[in-house]
């Protein structure tokens, strides 16, 4: 039997022989990919693109959750009989999996699921599994060394190089319209702005004034979306005991109806309790919970404003930008702006980051990945 692996000699007289180096196929160069990653407590955003150009080949928002399929699940229930699910797929199969949330308050809390999640991120960025990947990962403002080391360990062997950069600065970088930087009248957010990034685990405030923010320019408050969920959960149980609604349902209710400012009543929300549809008035419960966020953020906001240089503060007050999931709370911009105005601050202007609020940190991270010099990266061993 003729071995299938033997090649027939070429009939063309000028074809190179098998023993010539020229006959060996060229070794494919390993693709280099750059990743910008916003590792959020509830949702992560990953952007990826090849090194050397500005294409974005991957842009995904993924719930930060890993689902380990329970023992004894019948074949065919889980697509491909997978053992581990991620993101939306894990949530859609929550009856059949043990859900794990790798992060808490913006930092890795469960290393094993964090590593699995990081592997999933890698797969999203590079389905071929062959690229060398350098990743810029956002970290909460003032994250300590243990939190950073946890990220490095979770990425070791998955990414070849890593760079950890505080999220609010990345948000400013991502929000910046690079095409308008030199335009007259355009205020570059990296030159003079105050970013408020309200996520699931932390609310990070950061003064960005043309230099990399120092520790004194950043305040990280461990009160954000998840804490609001807990307050709504407690308030709901006080007002409607034994309602049986889960935190996941509470989060959905919050995302649909969250507001700050004066009480909005009635705020009727339809829920299913015990299989039956009920209408609950959640105006006060939701308002009280969300207004707590204002009570936490406002003092930090005025502290940072007070620390800005006097020749920049008036312009700064015109560039207070709210991003992250918390930017979707109705009225948060007007309430903060009114508080500043009532307290005598000069013509403050608070605005929302807009529809890309989930992506600005990751966009900034990818910009940083493209701009970073070789000697700025940390090599990940393993």
């Amino acid at each position: 039997m003729t071995p299938a692996t033997l090649e027939k000699p070429s009939a063309a007289p000028l074809a190179p022989s098998l023993s010539s180096p020229m006959s060996r196929p060229p070794i494919p160069r390993q693709t280099s990919l750059l990743v910008g990653l916003d590792l959020g407590t509830n949702k992560s955003c990953v952007l990826a693109g090849p090194a050397g150009n500005s294409d974005i080949t991957v842009s995904k928002v993924v719930p930060s959750v890993v689902g380990y399929v329970k023992d004894g699940i019948v074949d065919g229930i889980i697509t491909g009989n997978a053992k581990i699910l991620f993101g939306e797929e894990a949530l859609s199969q929550m009856l059949h999996v043990e859900l794990a949330t790798p992060l808490a308050e913006g930092v890795i809390a469960h290393p094993e699921s964090a590593r699995d999640f990081m592997q999933h991120i890698r797969q999203l960025a590079d389905p071929t599994g062959r690229a060398e990947i350098r990743a810029v990962v956002g970290v909460p403002a003032n994250a300590g060394e243990p939190a950073r080391e946890a990220i490095r360990r979770s990425a070791s062997g998955i990414f070849s190089h890593i760079l950890l950069i505080p999220e609010p600065f990345l948000a400013a970088l991502g929000y910046r319209d690079d095409g308008r930087v030199k335009q007259a009248g355009y205020v570059d957010p990296v030159v003079n702005s105050l970013f408020i990034d309200i996520g699931g685990g932390t609310s990070d405030l950061c003064l960005v004034q043309g230099y990399f923010p120092t520790r004194d320019d950043q305040i990280s408050i461990p009160f954000a979306g998840d804490a609001i969920d807990e307050l709504i959960f407690d308030g709901l149980n006080r007002t409607y005991p034994n309602n049986g609604l889960s935190l996941i349902t509470i989060r959905d209710i919050k995302e649909a109806h969250a507001y700050v400012g004066p009480s909005r009543k009635p705020l009727e929300v339809k829920v299913v309790i015990g299989g039956k549809s009920r209408t609950l008035d959640l105006g006060d419960v939701i308002g009280n919970a969300c207004n707590t966020l204002i009570d936490k953020i406002y003092p930090a906001l005025t502290t940072l404003i007070a620390s800005a240089s006097s020749d920049s503060v008036v312009t700064l007050l015109q560039n207070i930008i709210i991003t992250g999931g918390g930017s979707q709370i109705r009225g948060i911009d007007t309430v903060l702006q009114k508080k500043l105005s009532d307290d005598g601050f000069e013509t403050p202007k608070v605005r929302l980051a807009g529809q890309d609020f989930q992506r600005y940190v990751a966009i900034g991270a990818l910009k940083a990945a493209r701009a970073a010099r070789d000697n700025q990266w940390q090599v990940l061993l393993g």
């Binding site: 060394e145 043309g210 230099y211 004194d216 007070a306 800005a308």
Partner: protein, 129 residues
């Protein structure tokens, strides 16, 4: 129960033995009695409770030891770390920190990253300890 026991331990460390004893013989006793009556096996309940209280006691000891080291270090930083409820404490309520560095519009992202890396190497930076 863990919370109550931690509170008792902290009170003892703080020299408030009277209040600690009061909690021990009221709230803690009630919580322990409730846990024991809810358990099917008294021996098992006692073993679990003993382990729980030992763990909580160790946590409190470790926390106190860490606090004794951290508090002097944090003492200098507390005014900057705690958000104020109003303007800064100067009579005019303003800060005069100058903007540093070259013209920001001329700086590249890599320059900002260099700033960040320099900061991280400063001895007082949290990640360099």
């Amino acid at each position: 129960m863990g919370r109550i026991y931690r509170r008792i331990c902290f009170l003892r460390f703080d020299g408030q033995s009277g209040e600690a004893s009061r909690l021990e013989f009221s709230e803690l006793k009630e919580a322990v009695d409730a846990a024991k009556s809810a358990s099917e096996s008294t021996d098992e309940a006692e073993s679990i409770l003993r382990r729980l209280l030992e763990e909580e006691g160790e946590r409190v000891s470790e926390a106190v030891a860490i606090a004794e080291v951290l508090i002097p270090m944090l003492a200098d930083r507390i005014p900057a770390a705690i958000p104020a409820r109003g303007p800064a404490s100067s009579p005019l309520g303003v800060s005069h920190r100058p903007r540093i560095g070259p013209d920001p519009s001329e700086r590249s992202i890599a320059d900002f990253i260099d700033d960040m890396l320099v900061q991280e190497r400063q001895p007082e930076h949290p990640i360099s300890r």
